[in-house]
Amino acid sequence: MTSNVEQKVIVKKLKSMFPESILEVTDFRGDLQILVDREKILEICRYLKTDKELNFNMLLDVCGVDYLQMNSQARFAVVYHMYSLNKKHRVRLKAFLNDDTPVVESVCSIWKSANWFEREAYDLFGIQFKNHPNLKRILTHPNFHGHPLRKDYDSTKRHPQVERRK
């Protein structure tokens, strides 16, 4: 669990570096979550990785969330879980994407591990990652229509690849 003191360091450092881009800081059950401006995601991530005191050298997970059925400020969000092996602290970054075609900068250039996780978020939510080296579908097949984890996706929909025999 991230202790309170360290949380303050992470938050303080981020707030002093990006005073306008840190929108909200919450702590639920010991999970530190920082809501950031999506325009600044690349810079914030690079800072989190390269700063000696923060040193988030491992990106564990990237995923999308569809807030259609929940009370929220935007429909989509992209969520990053990162971890520092040396400092043993974790943080969750979240950025809301407020348009119908959600776009966010890819963090592949900072952590290679973002590659497939971003592809997955693109595949299942239709979130576009700018400057991603290979943004293709990964879990569903190439001819799949729509993005299955969106809340308005009709799960009874079928995707026939050949026409039905009469």
Partner: protein, 398 residues
């Protein structure tokens, strides 16, 4: 007569070999397109998703406790660890502290599952490189652990033994004896494998220096588990962020130096001994008491009581019809599974179903590095490498 050989126009003429998605050497439905120049891989395109079965979407339509059986199907070589991962995530969301006995039983079965998972990985990896005998040495102890699990919950492979807030039933009376019998039998099998393989010239030639990964590379790719530790990084969730009294047990984290296929084998072998050490200590200190919390908002009543008294019947009805209702919030819970850090990211909107579930499967991060790492290796090495990564498609594709 002179023999003239027509010069072959070789530039741009690469041979494409499709490995998978139903190839026996991949141990799962992985598809890997390898471009070969002679026997050397020039380019590799891994493709996954052939076993995708919408685990995350399914979770959104199920009450929290009925997601449990699906987690068995994530890493099907060590089902119980996924159960624990899911239960821990929901318990964290609820702020629920489980009983000491339940914690210890979870630790013991977790470690047994880690052993059999490593056994499967080592056994199949060795079959792939041509050492068939070890397969039986590796799979026999697995049977014994499955028998223990069967005594606990009635199922062998997909155990579904956890429930939110505890276990579905108490351990059998001979749990201690059974576990000790397995512990006594295990070293023989591991030593047999070690004796045949660790200093085996052929095995060393096939695996040493094959796919060496540096610590920085592995961290950059988000590797966790035995594959990361083989690179020399001593990161283990059980030590770094101990849960369930792992900090009270005396065990060490084995690490390798080169991060190659051989080191991954050595790390897995060493980890099995460490797991046995943990089980011994946990059996020693196994506390008495209930295995479930006393809170009927989460725990199903005994079946006998459901049929005989009205409170239990109502309790059962409420849980089945309305489920568990956690507070609004989101948590990320992580455990050290056999392949590395297994994470569950859970968003609750206060309803009886999870709003969003994201599984962070350890081998997803491991396998994505192959696109970069395979070029330069021979096609035969590829088989050794794939086996050593312990890819379990159930958790990779979800």
């Amino acid at each position: 007569m002179t023999l003239t050989v027509e010069p072959l126009e070789r530039l741009g003429e690469l041979m494409v070999v499709n490995i998978g998605p139903i190839h026996p050497a991949t141990h799962g439905t992985i598809y890997l397109k390898a471009y070969l120049d002679g026997e050397v891989i020039v380019k590799a395109e891994p493709d996954v998703g052939y076993l995708h079965r919408c685990f995350e979407k399914m979770c959104e339509t199920h009450p929290y406790h009925t997601v449990m059986p699906y987690t068995d199907r994530l890493n099907y070589c060590s089902c119980f660890m996924n159960n624990v991962g899911w239960a821990m995530a929901v318990e964290k969301l609820l702020g629920l502290e489980i009983t000491p006995k339940c914690q210890y039983v979870r630790v013991i079965l977790n470690e047994f599952n880690r052993i059999i998972d490593h056994m499967v990985c080592i056994g199949t990896n060795l079959v792939d490189v041509g050492a068939l005998t070890n397969f039986w040495y590796a799979f026999q102890p697995r049977e014994m652990v499955y028998t223990l699990l069967e005594k606990c919950c009635g199922a062998r492979l997909t155990v579904n033994y956890c429930q939110i807030g505890g276990l579905i039933r108490d351990i059998p009376s001979d749990f201690d004896n059974e576990s000790k019998t397995i512990l006594k039998a295990l070293p023989r099998f591991i030593e047999d494998i070690e004796g045949l393989i660790t200093h085996n010239r052929i095995f060393i030639d096939r695996t040493k220096g094959i796919n060496p990964v540096t610590a920085d590379q592995a961290i950059d790719w988000g590797w966790t588990g035995p594959c990361l530790r083989a690179c020399g990084v001593a990161y283990d969730v059980r030590k770094a962020h101990p849960y369930y009294d792992y900090d009270k047990f005396d065990f060490s984290i084995p690490t390798g130096t080169n991060g190659d296929v051989y080191d991954r084998y050595l790390v897995r072998i060493a980890e099995m001994y460490q797991s046995m050490k943990i089980i011994e200590q946990a059996l020693e200190g196994l506390p008495d008491g209930p295995v479930t919390v006393k809170d009927n908002r989460y725990i199903f009543p005994e079946k006998e009581n459901v049929y005989s008294n009205i409170e239990s019947l109502m309790n059962h009805f409420k849980l089945v019809m309305h489920g568990i209702k956690p507070p609004v919030g989101e948590v990320y819970s992580y455990t050290e599974a056999a392949n590395g850090e297994l994470g569950f990211y859970l968003i609750s909107d206060g309803g009886s179903h999870p709003y969003r579930v994201k599984v962070r499967p350890p081998c997803f991060a491991i396998f994505q590095a192959m696109e970069d790492m395979l070029p330069g290796h021979m096609i035969a090495d590829l088989i050794a490498i794939l086996g050593s990564l312990n890819l379990v498609m159930g958790e990779l594709d979800r």
